[in-house]
Symmetry: C2
Subunit: 114 residues, 2 copies
């Protein structure tokens, strides 16, 4: 990961509501959540939420797909892992001081109804 991407990802996570959004999507697993579900879960205005989704998506931390009328947002675990790797690598003089932390979905979801 480039420094530019790291700054972008750090900035995306450096805000209360966005950190909540990302954590919620991570917990939701690969199936993700609709924008409305996130809005309701966190009590955020939908237009404000779009703003935050954009920022997280620009940083590569989440992805979107359309499902009917809903937009489904999902966490991008690899980008988060890349960020953790970047931070770990860069905290000890260019040499990694510990095995890079890794982030995977909690467990496979049984395609439950959204």
């Amino acid at each position: 990961m480039e420094k530019t991407d790291a700054v972008s990802a750090l900035g995306a996570l450096a805000q209360d509501n966005r950190l909540d959004v990302f954590r919620l999507l991570v917990q939701a697993g690969p199936d993700g959540l609709s924008a409305g579900a996130v809005a309701e879960a966190l009590g955020l205005a939908p237009n404000s939420l779009t703003f935050h989704f954009d920022r997280l998506r620009a940083a590569g931390l989440i992805a979107v797909r359309r499902d009917g009328r809903s937009m489904i947002y999902t966490a991008q675990y690899e980008q988060m892992n890349a960020l953790l790797a970047f931070l770990t690598e860069n905290c000890c003089g260019g040499v990694s001081c510990a095995p890079a932390a890794e982030c995977k979905p909690a467990r496979k979801r049984k395609s439950e109804i959204a």
Copy 2:
């Protein structure tokens, strides 16, 4: 680490110059570097640098001590480790998905002349 602290630390690192400053201090090890040394190494105006130091210090990522006319800034590895732990814990549904990454000084400096 509380969410508030994580947001603060993420915000402190989410800026080009500050990320450079922190990486430089981490590489410098426990002895740290004077404000002037950092300013010269990164080509930053000293007053601008003070602003960034303040932000990193407010986030607990660096510490200061006075040495004669110089202010010596040092990386706070524990806070960085706490941040990595927070991110690792919170990326897999509240359950850590990997041993937390850890960050230690590269190696003991032989008290070389600053």
